[in-house]
């Protein structure tokens, strides 16, 4: 047909004219355009704020460069806050790690009723979302000075208060554990499942007891993963704010940051940037350690 006739021909609908294969480099470049919205969003809402923090940590209120903010966080009251934050996070991570592992192992055991596993997994999904205000109040209702369990223990002759406090190390760690356990269980289950039954059975066949198996094979293989997850739990606890605020804890890094942002503290508000930067650094380190340790374990579980 002639060019004119061709031009007159009606194209079928939905054929995008010009959608012919281009040279490879062209297509790649155009393809990256599709990432613009996402990249823009991440930049505005994540990268720029992070940049602000990094820059702001070294700036005075007027914009001049200074190291005073960094110096400030080593002076009262911050070191105590750091100390308590680290203690609380470490303790809840330890409890969460050990008991989370025991729980994950228990629900996966072949002798345990089948329905327990999905029950725990779904509850863990829920419990991980309770963190924050509702959790703190729930524990207030449980172990607070008028809490249900407190009253029960008093009837049995055990007086929790005044030694115990939900704002103290043990009390707060217990509250934190409520969202640390589920996280540990959810993340630990795939790791334990990675331990092939053949290894367990071979060990048994060769005469090993359950203890021997764990000692020589099981634990050596999953310990890196266990440690990595505990490190992750540490970072998770460190970032917690809502739960601590609702519990009424006052000497925590996150609480201090909030106070500074609100302008409630009679200290240099620029310190908030330094504290925030410190937190970013710590959490960044924990996540790096976590992924390195995870990689060690997956090497054997493949």
């Amino acid at each position: 047909m002639s060019v004119a006739e061709f031009a007159e021909t009606e194209l079928p609908p939905d054929v995008v004219v010009g959608d012919v294969p281009r040279k490879r480099s062209h297509t790649r470049r155009w393809a990256f355009l599709g990432m613009v919205p996402f990249a823009a969003f991440i930049t505005i809402f994540l990268l720029i704020p992070t940049g602000e923090i990094i820059v702001g940590a070294f700036r005075t209120v007027n914009g001049a460069f200074t190291l005073s903010n960094i110096r400030d966080i080593f002076q009262a009251p911050y070191p105590a806050a750091f100390e308590f934050s680290v203690e609380l996070s470490a303790l809840s991570a330890l409890i969460g790690g050990i008991f989370g592992f025991l729980l994950a192992n228990a629900i996966l055991h072949h002798g345990v009723p089948r329905w327990i596993r999905p029950a725990y997994i779904s509850f863990s999904g829920m419990a991980a979302n309770f963190a924050g205000v509702p959790l703190a109040f729930a524990y207030g209702a449980t172990l607070g000075s008028l809490g249900v369990v407190t009253v029960l223990l008093k009837h049995l002759g055990l007086n929790l208060y005044p030694t115990f406090s939900l704002q103290g190390l043990c009390g707060a760690a217990l509250v934190y554990a409520y969202f640390q356990f589920p996280l540990m269980i959810l993340l630990m289950v795939p790791v334990i499942e990675g331990l092939r039954t053949e290894w367990r059975e071979s060990a048994s066949n060769l005469g090993a007891s359950a203890f021997t198996f764990w000692r020589h094979i099981g634990l050596p293989i999953i310990t890196p993963s266990l440690l990595g997850l505990m490190v992750l739990l540490f970072g998770n606890a460190l970032s917690a704010y809502a739960t601590a605020e609702a519990l009424g804890i006052s000497n925590l890094v996150t609480i201090d940051i909030a106070e500074l942002v609100d302008g409630n503290m009679a200290l240099d508000p620029q310190d908030a940037y330094a504290l925030a930067l410190g937190m970013i650094v710590i959490i960044f380190v924990t996540i790096t350690i976590y992924s390195l340790l995870q990689r060690r374990t997956s090497r054997w579980l493949r």
Partner: protein, 283 residues
């Protein structure tokens, strides 16, 4: 050498003999302890919220008080609004992006995996420090709207939304479906809307439910920015009236529980839901 032993075949005798050693006491102990640890606080909440009631009052007095409070309704409504906006913004941003990466830029997958972990490195309390100047400049120009909160929540929901969509896209053979659609003449946007998204229903709903859970429960940013969301309201009430605060806590539990139930049912009927979607299309 051993003598020949003739044993009478008693059915089930072996099971009985080993019944004791086969019950994993150690593991069951932990299961029970764990269950206690998780359930006691919930029981305490229920118990507590039904306490402190004067004889002439209804046993659900605190709940009724809460429901009667107009602030409760406005706070709940505000949170709901924000949640829906978060979901909408999240989907509009993430679905095309993850689709695009899977289809055209698979080399960016590791980068996306990394980016999806970033919100954990910059937790809410830290993010708000970095956002403060931005918010301050915004409030000079315009009254700070809840929509800003929604956009921030999109960041918090990002890891979960990404993982859900990523898993969903990996489960369907994206390449084949897209090529089939294109060979039939469909443009890329049409393919995305008519072919891919209906097949991602389960993943989309799953990610959305998680986003709702996060938005409804978020406290840190909302309180520091001065919004009266549900979590902030709960906090304020709880700080003054313990009983009402605990009643609100139970309501929060029910809310999260409902969302998780929705997720679970979705997972069970996931295949059938997708199937219904496809047959609907055909009609």
């Amino acid at each position: 050498m051993a003598q020949v032993t003739v044993s009478v075949d008693r059915p089930g005798s072996h099971r009985l003999r080993r019944a004791r050693s086969r019950v994993p006491v150690w593991h069951l102990l932990w299961v029970v302890l764990g269950a206690l640890f998780f359930l006691v606080p919930i029981y305490s909440v229920v118990q507590f919220s039904l306490q402190g009631i004067l004889p002439h009052q209804n046993e659900f007095h605190w709940y009724l008080t809460v429901f009667d409070d107009p602030n409760f309704r406005s706070a709940f409504w505000l949170s709901l609004q924000i949640s829906l906006e978060t979901v909408a913004a999240s989907l509009v941003l993430m679905v095309p992006t993850v689709f695009w990466v899977h289809l055209r830029l698979p080399g960016l997958r590791p980068v996306m995996d990394l980016v999806s972990v970033l919100p954990f490195v910059v937790p809410p309390i830290v993010l708000i420090v970095g956002l403060a100047p931005f918010i301050k400049s915004l409030s000079i120009w315009l009254f700070v709207r809840p929509e800003v909160l929604s956009l921030i929540y999109v960041v918090f929901a990002l890891p979960f939304m990404y993982r859900a969509l990523d898993a969903g896209l990996r489960a369907i053979d994206l390449r084949t479906l897209t090529e089939a659609a294109e060979s039939l003449g469909a443009s890329l946007p049409r393919t995305l809307f008519r072919v891919i998204i209906p097949n991602l229903r389960a993943a989309i709903i799953g990610g959305s439910l998680l986003a709702v859970a996060i938005s409804m429960g978020e406290f840190t940013v909302a309180s520091l920015m001065g919004f009266g969301t549900f979590a902030v309201y709960t906090f304020n009430i709880g700080m003054s009236t313990a009983y009402e605060g605990v009643a609100l806590t139970f309501i929060s539990f029910l809310l999260v529980w409902g969302i998780m139930l929705g997720l679970y049912l979705l997972g069970r009927g996931g295949a059938s839901a997708a199937g219904v979607a496809i047959t609907d299309e055909k009609k």
